[in-house]
């Protein structure tokens, strides 16, 4: 007697083991993930389902076993072609250890690596473990609430443009049915009575009897019937009481969208390397914001002496010459923010990467616009790349940052600097400023 069971639908049962594995190598995974963030390609970082390699020795399971590398052994092998008893076969150079030592290890894996596949969430969890957005405290207090129109059932009055025809017709039909039903029944009774009366009149006429009383009753009935029919006809097809309107209501709704302005200097002094640093910084920031908000929009603004909005490709591909002015970029950001991303509806972040070159006279303009802009931003991150000394621009930003904690500045000169710098920016230690 055999039984056949289809188990395919019951799914896999490896999650518990997988969790425990990740738990065990969490520290390792973190190091690997951070290494990828430091030097891996940007495409890798942005991809989901990251396989992360962990050396098997970290996951080694020790047990008592033999080590036959330096001892005498005898082994039976298949496929003899030419050997006779007593033949000698020279040992391979290097002692031939590799082939034999594997025999001792129960899993036979040697020093291979295990690839642990992390989902996008797990990857980002590890990457941003222990980090938080600096100004999230403020946002959590409720000022990210915004009113949103939502459907809220049906009401009896409203503007004609919101009239709900289906609901209205349904109400009208119900009313018509309700008002007619009684009268129809009454009418039917009268009609029946009139028919009976008419037959009676016919009968009496045939017997030559007097029908004057009956005629009178008949005309009375006709009157009543006419009146009823008029009443029934007078029931309107649609009445004001039938009108229904779709209702929409304003409800407070937390803003879960964020916009990130990427502002980059594309003047001649920004080379491939600087752009790569910028790209890494923008990408990390993007991934990080993405963990806090449902959707993150990106706005790319490049500038030299003028500023323009552009596509991502143009942003990272562009290399333009000319002198550098920072203020046009700030002004353009401000404009775009006003037009498309009003700060009461959006969590606005601005990240700026520059090598710090700016016309001296422009700094004052930058300051003016920044002071205007900053209160409406969640954060402004300024990264200065590849400078041996601090620029005037950075000093200006640092000075403003004294009054505006939303403004965060940093410097980096190597690719490897970006991730550690990122970590220091967002580390969650209790900052003494709160005390």
């Amino acid at each position: 007697m055999s039984m056949i069971i289809d188990r395919r639908s019951s799914g896999t049962r490896s999650t518990a083991n997988q969790d425990r594995l990740q738990r065990r190598v969490r520290a390792r995974l973190k190091v690997a993930v951070e290494k990828m963030a430091r030097s891996g390609s940007i495409e890798d970082l942005a991809n989901t389902d990251q396989p992360v390699s962990i050396p098997t020795r970290d996951l080694h399971e020790p047990s008592f076993h033999r080590d036959l590398s330096d001892t005498s052994w005898e082994r039976v092998l298949p496929g003899n072609k030419e050997y006779q008893r007593g033949d000698e076969i020279n040992k391979p150079e290097g002692g031939g250890r590799s082939g034999k030592s594997r025999e001792g290890s129960p899993d036979g894996l040697g020093d291979d690596e295990v690839a642990i596949v992390l989902s996008a969430d797990e990857f980002l969890d590890l990457l941003f473990d222990g980090l938080a957005l600096p100004n999230l405290r403020k946002t959590a207090q409720g000022d990210i609430q915004a009113d949103q129109w939502r459907r809220a059932g049906f009401i009896k009055d409203g503007s004609p443009s919101r009239m709900h025809v289906g609901r209205t017709m349904r109400a009208a039909r119900a009313r018509r049915l309700a008002l007619r039903a009684g009268k129809r029944r009454e009418l039917q009774d009268l009609l029946d009575a009139r028919n009976v009366l008419r037959e009676e009149i016919q009968g009496r006429l045939a017997q030559k009897q007097d029908v004057s009383v009956e005629q009178e009753r008949l005309s009375e009935l006709d009157h009543q019937i006419d009146a009823l029919e008029r009443k029934i006809k007078a029931i309107p097809f649609i009445d004001e009481a039938d009108l229904r309107f779709a209702h929409i209501d304003q409800q407070p709704h937390p803003i879960t969208n964020a916009v990130m302005f990427c502002v980059m200097d594309v003047s001649g002094s920004m080379g491939e390397k600087e752009k790569d640093l910028a790209k890494r910084f923008f990408l990390l920031l993007y991934l990080f914001l993405h963990r806090h908000y449902q959707a993150v929009q990106m706005v790319f603004i490049k500038h030299h002496s003028t500023a323009s909005e552009c596509t991502e490709q143009a942003f990272f591909g562009a290399r333009e010459g000319g002198g550098t002015l920072v203020s046009p970029a700030i002004i353009l950001s401000e404009e775009i923010m006003q037009q498309r991303f009003p700060p009461d509806r959006w969590n606005v972040y601005l990240a700026q990467v520059s090598d710090g070159d700016n016309y001296f006279a422009d700094n004052a303009v930058v300051e003016e616009h920044l002071l205007n802009l900053l209160p409406r931003l969640r954060n402004l991150f300024y990264l200065e790349v590849n400078r041996d000394s601090e620029s005037d621009l950075l000093r200006l930003y640092d000075a403003i940052a004294q009054d505006f904690p939303e403004l965060v500045t940093a410097r980096a000169s190597e690719r490897e600097d970006i991730y550690p710098m990122f970590r220091t920016l967002f580390a969650t230690e209790e900052t003494p400023s709160h005390v």
Binding site: M1, S2, M3, I4, I5, D6, R7, R8, S10, G11, T12, R13, S14, A16, N17, Q18, D19, R20, L21, R23, R24, P51, T56, L59, P62, S63, F64, H65, R66, D67, L68, D70, T71, S72, W73, E74, R75, V76, L77, P78, G79, N80, Y83, Q84, R85, G86, D87, E88, I89, N90, K91, E103, G104, D107, L109, D112, V114, A115, I116, V117
Partner: protein
């Protein structure tokens, strides 16, 4: 009208049902196989990888090492380095066989013959499985183990439980009673008596470890050696005698030990088990063809899979990775049948059963009464050694060359056979490490001794001792031939 069970190659439940019925008939009539009832389960490739990760057990407690195994295997599978087994079969009653959904109908037929009848009969009849495993109780017991360990994780934390499991796994190969039959395990009974056992054990230990204050304190009351004789089952000894182990940890050691015990015969009978299953599927598929139930095309597809499975690459072939148990086992079982039906003079000199017309009886006997080591010693015939071109190579660590110590010729057959049996014994047996003494009246240190003479991997041994020490709680020493290792409590 055609009587073929199927002509195209897609499987359906109805076809599997029909094939199973015919295979069952052949297994009973022509091979007289005695099997457990079958339960065939269709699973996906992902589920097959799951099953791999937990040594094929259908229910298993959670541990990171199974996750690691799965990560390795699914990586290899994705990269195309490893094909999945077509089947997996569990020694239980009913006997559960997994059929992969990707298999063709021919493959499903092969798998049913191989697993649901070949392995199944082997599980039910081989003396080692009968002695060491309890096919009735295993599924319940595994479910109990999974529940119990999950409860422990809730109560004491995943990390604490993992530490205990890590340590238990490290010595699980030294947790099997090789010499005597273990007690039957019954899950229901286990569960009912577990708490009682925990309490009782704790009391027992307090008794054992209490230093009865005698009138003469300088002289221990009981100076008799403890344990009285060396103990080979490290897990059992620690479970019963570790001074300060909490009850639930003892229970976990017991679970690991019971499962190791259950799995023990599989390692001991790899060649026989696979060989017998191949012998059975080979017979059944031919018989299905002879009865006109499968097409020539099906038979050819079967040949392709069968030869791939029983292929033995030569030692100098890049594909070589040791003797293929399928190839050797199948060759030996086929040869037993040949020796019965068409013996040569050589066979008559070597085997007393040569020419016995009842080959089934001989096959059954061989399948029932041996394990790999004794099976090879008994049945590896000169013909099989010649066919496989076996030769023995020996290594002297001081010499610059390996020496061919025997080849497949008249003077070498006996030697080859014995050398091969030794090799099997060595590879299936863990190093013989036994507990020789516990200093009950002093610092309670545990002393282990290596009883065989083959060198241990030192680094591994040290790490393993560290884990034993975590269970025992006091110093642990391991004496080997030339040196000894210790693991002490941190000061």
């Amino acid at each position: 009208m055609s009587r073929f069970l199927f002509t195209d190659n897609d499987w359906t439940f109805a076809r599997i049902d029909a094939v199973t019925e015919e295979v069952a008939a052949i297994a009973a009539e022509e091979l007289q196989l005695d099997t457990y009832p079958n339960q065939l389960e269709i699973i996906s490739a992902e589920q097959m990888l799951d099953a791999y990760a937990s040594i094929g057990l259908p229910v298993y407690y959670a541990h990171w090492s199974f996750g690691k195994q799965r990560a390795i295997e699914s990586g290899q599978y994705r990269r195309g380095e490893m094909g999945l087994a077509y089947e997996l079969v569990i020694n239980s009653n009913p006997c559960i066989s997994y059929l992969m959904e990707e298999n063709t109908m021919t493959m499903q037929t092969l798998v049913i013959a191989h697993a649901a009848y070949g392995h199944n009969a082997f599980f039910k009849n081989n003396v080692f499985f009968r002695q060491w495993t309890d096919a009735e109780g295993i599924l319940d017991y595994l479910a109990f183990a999974q529940r119990y360990i999950a409860r422990c994780e809730e109560r004491y934390g995943i990390d604490t439980v993992t530490d205990v499991l890590d340590a238990a796994h490290a010595i699980s190969r030294n947790g099997v009673d090789r010499a005597r039959r273990p007690r039957q395990l019954s899950a229901r009974e286990e569960e009912q008596r577990r708490e009682e056992r925990e309490r009782y054990l704790q009391q027992q230990l307090l008794e054992i470890w209490r230093t009865l204050p005698p009138h003469d304190t300088s002289q221990p009351v009981d100076s008799a050696a403890f344990p009285p004789a060396p103990q080979e089952n490290l897990l059992y000894f620690i479970e019963k005698n570790a001074p300060h182990l909490e009850g639930w940890k003892r229970e976990i050691l017991r679970i690991v030990r019971k499962i190791a015990q259950y799995l023990y015969p599989q390692g001991q009978t790899k060649i026989m088990n696979e060989g017998f299953a191949c012998f059975v599927h080979y017979h059944i598929l031919h018989s299905l063809h002879a009865r006109g139930l499968i097409t020539d095309g099906t038979l050819l597809e079967f040949y392709a899979s069968h030869t791939a499975v029983t292929f033995q690459p030569d030692f100098d072939d890049p594909r070589y990775s040791g003797i293929n148990p399928y190839a050797l086992g199948f060759a030996v079982f086929q040869d037993i049948k040949r020796i019965c039906l068409a013996p040569t003079d050589e066979d008559r000199r070597w085997f007393s059963f040569a020419g016995d017309p009842d080959w089934r009886k001989q096959i059954h006997f061989a399948m029932r009464e041996f394990r790999d080591e004794s099976f090879v010693l008994q049945y590896l015939s000169p013909k099989v050694m010649r066919d496989l071109h076996l030769f023995a190579l020996s290594n002297d660590p001081d010499a610059t060359a390996y020496r061919v110590s025997a080849i497949h010729d008249d003077s070498g057959y006996q030697y080859l056979r014995q050398a091969f049996a030794r090799q099997i014994a060595e590879s299936t047996r863990p190093p013989d490490i036994q507990i020789v003494s516990v200093d009950r009246w002093g610092d309670r240190h545990l002393r282990l001794r290596q009883m065989d003479s083959q060198p241990l991997d030192q680094e591994e041994a040290q790490k393993t001792l560290h884990l034993i020490h975590a269970l025992w709680g006091y110093d642990v020493h391991l004496d080997m031939e030339e040196l000894s290792l210790s693991e002490s409590v941190a000061p």
